[in-house]
C-alpha cells in the first residue's frame, strides 16, 4: 500500500491563492439542504377544506391587482446601499410593502475543490480497461470542480462557469447565462472517453491510421501467441460541445437555437473477414476520426388556448476514413480464388439529414385538448463507393459498378391525439400515429460482387426496405374520489406494420387491450398497477426470402406473438421524510406459431427501495433489484443434403440473472463542520446459454452429425461494484477538507474472451479481455464553497 502525497502542499497553497482572489457571496442563506416543508399538521387540516381554487382563479385574482405606481417600483435607497442583505430580510422587504426590494450589489461567487489523488491498490496497467471505461482516474493533483458565478446588482440574471474534472479525459465544463423568463444560454463541453481494451495485442505496423501491415513472411501461431506486442489502450474520445440559446422576447414567443458538435477520435476493435484461405479473419482497430455537427432552430408561439412549435434540424456526419485495409495474416500474395493478400472494409459513410417538425396543441371546451405533430426527415448519403475489391488477381468486369449510392431516404410521421374531460371523474384519450420510412436510392442493383475480396458473385439487387407503422389507441379513465381514491383506466391499442416484399411479412397487426388501476389506499400509501395483453398476427403469408431458409422458421419481429405485461408499484410515505416503494414487473412474450426461431421471451423483476431523511442532517437510502430473463430459441442445423433433418433440431435457453444493490447515506454529524457520505452499488450478473438437442443427431455424415450436436456454453459471471465514501471537515463554513475513499471491483468470467490467445490459426484476435481488478484510491482535497449554494460534487 502506497499513498502518494508529495504534491499535496502545493495543492493547498494553490487553493488558498485562488480563495484569496475570490469574492464571497454577499447574501447569506440557509444551506441548500435545509428542506423547507409545510408542516404535516397544516396539510392534514387541508382535508377538511372542500373549496379549492383553480389556476384560473389565481390568475384572475392577479388581474384585479392594482396597477403599480412609479413609486412602487422605485427601489428604496436604504436597501440598495446595504452591502449584505440577508435573504430573509430581503424577502421581508419585498413582502411587507409595495416596493421592490434590492437584490444586492454585484456579486461574484466562487467555489472549487482541488486535491491530490493516489492509488492505494492500483490495478496492473493491462487490467485497467473497465475501470476507465467512461472515466479517467489520474493520480497527482486534480481539480475536481470549479464554480464561478456573477450576478449584477439588483439583477436576477446569473452568469456561471462550472465544471468538473478539469484537464482530465472526462472533464465537463459548463458556461451558463440565465435570466428567468427572458433568456437562457448554455455552453457545455464534455469529454467522453470510451475505453475498450488495455491488453490488446497485435503484430505489424500501421503506416496510416487505416492501414495495417504485417511482415513477410507472415507470423505463424507459434509466433503470434507468445510474441505479439501489447497495443496502446484502445479507446475513443468524444469531444462534445453543445451551445443552446433560448430567448423569450415576450410571454407568447420562445426562440431556441441549439448547436451540437461531437468530434470522435481514437480507435476501437473491428474484425475483417479475409475469406481465404480457410475462411480466416483478423481483428484490427477501426480508426475513428469522425465529426458530427447538428444545428437546430426552434420557434414556439403560445397563448392560453393554442400552442405551436416549429423546428428545423440540420445534421451532418463526416468520416475522415472511408475504408480500412489490413494484410491477410495467412496470405502474402493476391490469388484469384484462394484469397487476397489484403482485405479492405468500408467504414461508415459521411451523410447528412434535414429534419422539420411542427407540433401544435389547442385547448377546447369541456376541458378538451387536441395535440398534433408532423415530422419529415431527409437523409442524404452519396459518398463515392470504394473499389469493389483490393485483390489484384480477381478477373471480373467492375466497370459497371456505380460510383455512389445516391441515397435520399428518410422518415415522416403524423400524430394526432385528443384528451377530454367531459365530466370531472372521466378522462377520454385517443391517439393516432403513422410513421413511415422511405428507402430511396439511385442504385437498384450491383452488377457484380467480390465477396471478401476473393470470390466473384453474380449481380445482386439491393433490397428496398420501406415500411409504415401505424398505431392507434383509445382509453377511458375514471377517477373515483371516494374514501379510497381509485383511478381505473381501460383502453385498446392497435398497431399495424406494412413492410416491403423484401421482408417476410407484408402486413402485421396487433391488438392490445390495456388496463391500469391506481389506488390511494391512504394519503400516505398508493398502489399503481397496469396490465397489457397483446395479440399480434400475420395477415397474409410468411414469405421465405431464399430457398435455403427453413420454411417453418419465423423471425421474431414479424412472427405471431402473444404478449403480456404486468406492473405493480407500491409507494408508502408514512412521513414526508420517509419513502418506501416496491415494484414487481412480469413480461411474457410467446411466439405460438414459430416452429423455429424465438419461442418465448420472459422477464421478471422485483425491486424494493427506501429513502429516509431521518433528520435534516442525516439521510439514508437503499434498494435491491432482482431481475431474471429467459429467452428460448429453437433452431435446426441445416447442412448440404440435410436441409430438414428433424434430429438436427436444437434448443437454446438463455438465462440472465442480475441482482443489483445500491445503498447510500449522507450525514452532517456537526452541521457546517463535519459531514460524511457514501454510496455502494453492486451489480452481479450471470448468464447461461444452455443448449440441447431434443433428439440425438443422426442421418448425416459424421461431421454433419457432430456439427448438429448441441452443448451448453459455459456460464458467464460478472461482478461490478463501485463504492465511494467521503468525509469533509469544514474549517470555516466556506473552507473544507475532504477525504474520499473510492473502490471499484470488477470480476468477469467470460469464456469468450478469458484466456483468448491472439491466434488460433485461421482466426487472429486482439486477444483482449476485460480483466479483473479491485482498485482502491483516495483523494484528499481542499474546497471552498460559496454560502449561497454548494459546489457541485462529482456524483457519488
Amino acid at each position: 500500500m502506497h499513498v502518494s502525497t508529495h504534491n499535496f502542499g502545493i495543492v493547498v497553497a494553490a487553493g488558498i491563492v485562488i480563495a484569496v482572489s475570490s469574492v464571497a457571496a454577499q447574501v447569506p442563506a440557509k444551506p441548500a439542504d435545509t428542506v423547507a416543508k409545510t408542516s404535516a399538521d397544516t396539510v392534514k387540516k387541508a382535508a377538511d377544506t372542500t373549496a379549492k381554487p383553480t389556476a384560473d382563479t389565481v390568475k384572475k385574482a392577479a388581474d384585479t391587482t392594482a396597477k403599480p405606481t412609479a413609486d412602487t417600483i422605485k427601489k428604496p435607497a436604504d436597501t440598495t446601499k446595504t452591502p449584505a442583505t440577508s435573504a430573509a430580510a430581503l424577502a421581508a422587504a419585498a413582502l411587507a410593502g409595495s416596493s421592490l426590494p434590492s437584490l444586492g450589489p454585484n456579486t461574484v461567487i466562487f467555489g472549487g475543490e482541488l486535491g491530490e489523488r493516489a492509488f492505494i491498490d492500483r490495478p496492473n496497467h493491462l487490467d485497467f480497461a473497465k475501470l476507465v471505461e467512461y472515466k479517467a482516474v489520474p493520480t497527482g493533483p486534480v481539480l475536481l470542480n470549479l464554480l464561478l458565478g456573477f450576478t449584477g446588482s439588483d439583477s436576477i440574471t446569473v452568469f456561471q462557469l462550472s465544471g468538473t474534472n478539469f484537464g482530465q479525459r472526462d472533464q465537463a465544463v459548463r458556461l451558463r447565462a440565465n435570466s428567468p423568463g427572458v433568456f437562457d444560454v448554455q455552453v457545455r463541453w464534455d469529454r467522453i472517453p470510451h475505453t475498450f481494451s488495455t491488453n490488446a495485442r497485435s503484430f505489424g505496423s500501421q503506416p496510416a491510421p487505416n492501414i495495417f501491415v504485417l511482415p513477410n513472411p507472415r507470423p505463424d501461431t507459434a509466433t503470434w501467441n507468445p510474441s505479439a506486442p501489447y497495443l496502446a489502450p484502445v479507446r475513443t474520445l468524444w469531444n462534445a460541445v453543445k451551445v443552446a440559446a433560448a430567448f423569450t422576447p415576450s410571454p407568447h414567443w420562445d426562440l431556441r437555437t441549439e448547436y451540437t458538435g461531437i468530434e470522435k477520435s481514437g480507435s476501437r476493435p473491428m474484425g475483417m473477414a479475409m475469406g481465404g484461405p480457410g475462411n480466416n479473419f483478423r481483428e484490427i482497430l477501426e480508426p475513428i476520426d469522425q465529426t458530427m455537427q447538428d444545428l437546430k432552430f426552434t420557434e414556439g408561439y403560445s397563448n392560453q388556448r393554442f400552442q405551436v412549435i416549429g423546428s428545423y434540424d440540420y445534421s451532418a456526419f463526416l468520416n475522415t476514413f472511408a475504408s480500412v485495409t489490413s494484410d491477410n495474416p495467412l496470405l502474402s500474395t493476391d490469388q484469384a480464388t484462394t484469397g487476397s493478400s489484403r482485405g479492405r472494409t468500408a467504414l461508415a459513410p459521411s451523410n447528412q439529414a434535414h429534419t422539420g417538425v411542427v407540433t401544435a396543441a389547442l385547448s377546447l371546451p369541456y376541458r378538451t385538448r387536441l395535440n398534433a405533430s408532423g415530422s419529415y426527415s431527409l437523409w442524404i448519403q452519396n459518398q463515392p463507393f470504394i473499389p469493389a475489391t483490393i485483390n489484384s488477381a480477381i478477373v471480373a468486369d467492375l466497370s459497371q459498378i456505380p460510383q455512389s449510392l445516391g441515397g435520399h431516404s428518410g422518415t415522416s410521421s403524423l400524430y394526432v391525439s385528443g384528451v377530454s374531460r367531459p365530466i370531472t371523474p372521466l378522462t377520454l384519450t385517443a391517439r393516432l400515429r403513422t410513421f413511415s420510412f422511405r428507402d430511396n436510392v439511385d442504385v437498384a442493383s450491383m452488377p457484380v460482387l467480390i465477396i471478401n475480396d476473393r470470390s466473384v458473385a453474380a449481380a445482386e439487387d439491393r433490397d428496398n426496405l420501406p415500411f409504415t407503422r401505424r398505431n392507434a389507441d383509445a382509453a377511458a379513465t375514471w377517477r373515483l374520489e371516494t374514501a379510497v381514491p381509485l383511478t381505473f383506466s381501460a383502453g385498446y391499442g392497435w398497431e399495424n406494420w406494412k413492410r416491403s416484399e423484401a421482408r417476410n411479412v407484408a402486413d402485421l397487426r396487433e391488438g392490445s387491450p390495456h388496463f391500469s388501476l391506481d389506488v390511494g389506499v391512504f394519503d400516505w400509501m398508493s398502489l399503481r398497477s397496469s396490465y397489457t395483453t397483446g395479440r399480434r398476427r400475420i395477415h397474409g403469408e410468411y414469405i421465405q426470402n431464399t430457398t435455403d431458409d427453413q420454411p417453418l422458421h419465423r423471425r421474431f419481429d414479424q412472427a405471431d406473438r402473444d404478449r403480456e405485461r404486468t406492473n405493480l408499484l407500491a409507494t408508502v410515505t408514512p412521513l414526508d421524510q420517509l419513502t418506501m416503494s416496491g415494484s414487481w414487473t412480469v413480461g411474457h412474450d410467446e411466439y405460438p406459431h414459430s416452429a423455429y426461431g424465438l419461442q418465448s421471451d420472459r422477464n421478471n423483476m422485483e425491486e424494493g427501495d427506501v429513502s429516509w431523511a431521518l433528520t435534516d442532517r442525516f439521510s439514508v437510502d437503499g434498494s435491491l433489484t432482482n431481475e431474471r430473463f429467459l429467452t428460448r430459441l429453437r433452431s435446426q442445423y441445416r447442412a448440404t443434403g440435410q436441409l430438414n433433418n428433424p434430429t438436427y433440431d436444437w434448443v437454446a435457453n438463455n438465462h440472465d440473472e442480475i441482482r443489483t444493490v445500491s445503498a447510500g447515506f449522507r450525514a452532517a454529524f456537526v452541521p457546517d463542520r463535519f459531514e460524511a457520505g457514501g454510496r455502494l452499488d453492486a451489480s452481479r450478473a450471470k448468464f447461461r446459454m444452455a443448449t440441447f438437442n431434443p433428439l440425438t443427431p443422426t442421418g448425416g455424415t459424421a461431421t454433419q452429425n457432430f456439427n448438429a450436436t448441441a452443448s451448453d456454453l459455459p456460464e458467464v459471471t460478472q461482478k461490478f461494484q463501485p463504492m465511494n465514501l467521503f468525509a469533509t471537515y469544514f474549517v470555516t463554513p466556506e473552507w473544507g477538507m475532504t477525504v474520499r475513499y473510492q473502490t471499484e471491483r470488477w470480476a468477469q468470467n467470460d469464456f469468450r474472451t478469458l484466456g483468448l490467445q491472439p491466434s488460433t490459426g485461421s482466426a487472429i484476435f486482439l486477444g483482449n479481455n476485460l480483466n479483473d481488478y479491485n482498485a482502491k484510491y483516495i483523494t484528499i482535497s481542499v474546497s471552498y464553497r460559496p454560502r449561497l449554494r454548494r459546489v457541485a460534487r462529482p456524483a457519488l
Partner: protein, 309 residues
C-alpha cells in the same frame, strides 16, 4: 483539436444575450389592493419565514420575490398557493383555499398541475395533457420542487434526472448499474437525453420520431442510408440493444451468437449450435458473429452484402 473556436462562439452568444437582459418588473400590490381572499405574502412570513428565506435564495425565489414580471407573479407566495386569507385568519389552523404541493397534499393533482401549467404549458410541456404521466396522475411536484434547490438544473426533487425518474422507474436505475451501460452514472447523459417526460408525440416519450433517430443524435454513423441494409437495424435499434443497460457487451439484449441465431436460419454456419472447439473459435470467441460481419449496421461497400466489407 479543432474544437477551440466553439466555446468562443458560446461566449459571444452569452454576451449577446446579456446585452438584452432585463425586462419589465412589477411591484408587489399594496395590501389594501389585494384581490378578495388574498392575504398578501407578507403575512406568510409570520409562520413560514424559514421556508421563505430558503426559497428567496433560489432562482425562482429571486424572480417572484425580487423581480416579478407581472401582476400574477407579484402576488408572491399566493401566485402559486392561491388565496391565503382564510388560512391566515384561522391562525394557520385551516388551509382555506390554499393549494399545497407536498407529497401528501390533499389538493388534487390536477389542481396542483394547473398552477404550474398556467405559466409553463408551452415548449417542452405542450403535449403534457394526455401524456402517460399526466393521465396516471403524476404531478409536476412529483418530480420538481421549487422551495429549495436540490438539483443543478430543472428544479428536480433529486440531485439528478436518473435519480428523479428512478423513484418510479427503479428497474431502469438498476439497469444503468449493470456492466454494460451508457455513461449515465458518469454524468455524461441522462434520461432527458432521449426522453421528454412531459409528453411527446413519439413512442416511449422519445424526443425524436423513432428510436433510431434518437440514437442517431450521437451515432450518426449508423444513419446511412447504406448500399446494403440490415432490416432489423433500419426498423429499430432496440431490436438488438437495450439502451438502459444489459449484462451483455454493446448493450445487447441477448448474448451472441444466440442473438443472431434468433433470425438467421439459412443453411451453412448460422444454424450450427456451436460449442467450445477450435473450429468454432471465430464464431464463439472474441466478438463472435461480428468478428467477420463487422458492418452489421449496414455496409456501403459495393460488395458488402454480407456486412463483412
Amino acid at each position: 483539436m479543432r474544437i477551440g473556436s466553439r466555446p468562443l462562439f458560446g461566449i459571444a452568444l452569452l454576451a449577446l444575450c446579456a446585452s438584452g437582459a432585463g425586462g419589465q418588473v412589477t411591484a408587489m400590490p399594496p395590501a389594501d389592493s389585494l384581490p378578495p381572499g388574498y392575504a398578501g405574502s407578507a403575512s406568510c412570513l409570520d409562520c413560514h419565514a424559514k421556508e421563505h428565506a430558503v426559497f428567496a435564495g433560489t432562482v425562482k425565489g429571486r424572480l417572484l420575490v425580487g423581480r416579478p414580471r407581472d401582476k400574477h407573479e407579484a402576488l408572491g407566495c399566493e401566485s402559486c398557493h392561491g388565496p391565503g386569507k382564510a388560512h391566515e385568519q384561522s391562525g394557520g389552523e385551516e388551509l382555506g383555499q390554499l393549494i399545497t404541493f407536498s407529497p401528501r397534499s390533499k389538493t388534487s393533482v390536477k389542481a396542483r398541475d394547473a398552477v404550474c401549467l398556467s405559466c409553463h404549458e408551452k415548449t417542452a410541456r405542450v403535449m403534457w395533457a394526455g401524456s402517460v404521466h399526466e393521465t396516471r396522475d403524476v404531478a409536476c411536484t412529483s418530480c420538481h420542487t421549487l422551495m429549495h434547490s436540490v438539483s443543478d438544473r430543472a428544479n428536480l426533487r433529486r440531485e439528478t434526472a436518473p435519480a428523479t425518474c428512478g423513484r418510479c422507474h427503479q428497474q431502469r436505475v438498476a439497469q444503468m448499474l449493470r456492466a454494460s451501460h451508457m455513461p449515465v452514472g458518469e454524468g455524461k447523459m441522462d434520461c432527458t437525453s432521449c426522453h421528454n417526460p412531459h409528453g411527446s408525440p413519439n413512442e416511449k416519450l422519445l424526443i425524436a420520431s423513432s428510436v433510431n433517430e434518437v440514437c442517431f443524435a450521437c451515432h450518426a454513423e449508423k444513419r446511412g442510408p447504406f448500399m446494403w441494409q440490415h432490416p432489423p437495424v433500419i426498423e429499430s435499434c432496440s431490436n438488438c440493444h437495450d439502451p438502459h443497460g444489459t449484462a451483455h457487451e454493446k448493450l445487447l439484449k441477448v448474448p451472441k451468437p444466440r442473438l443472431c441465431q434468433q433470425c438467421h436460419d439459412p443453411t451453412s454456419h448460422p444454424t450450427q449450435p456451436r460449442g467450445i472447439t477450435a473450429v468454432d473459435a471465430r464464431f464463439i470467441q472474441g466478438r463472435q458473429c461480428v468478428d467477420c460481419h463487422f458492418n452489421i449496421h449496414g455496409s456501403n461497400h459495393p460488395s458488402g452484402k454480407y456486412f463483412t466489407r
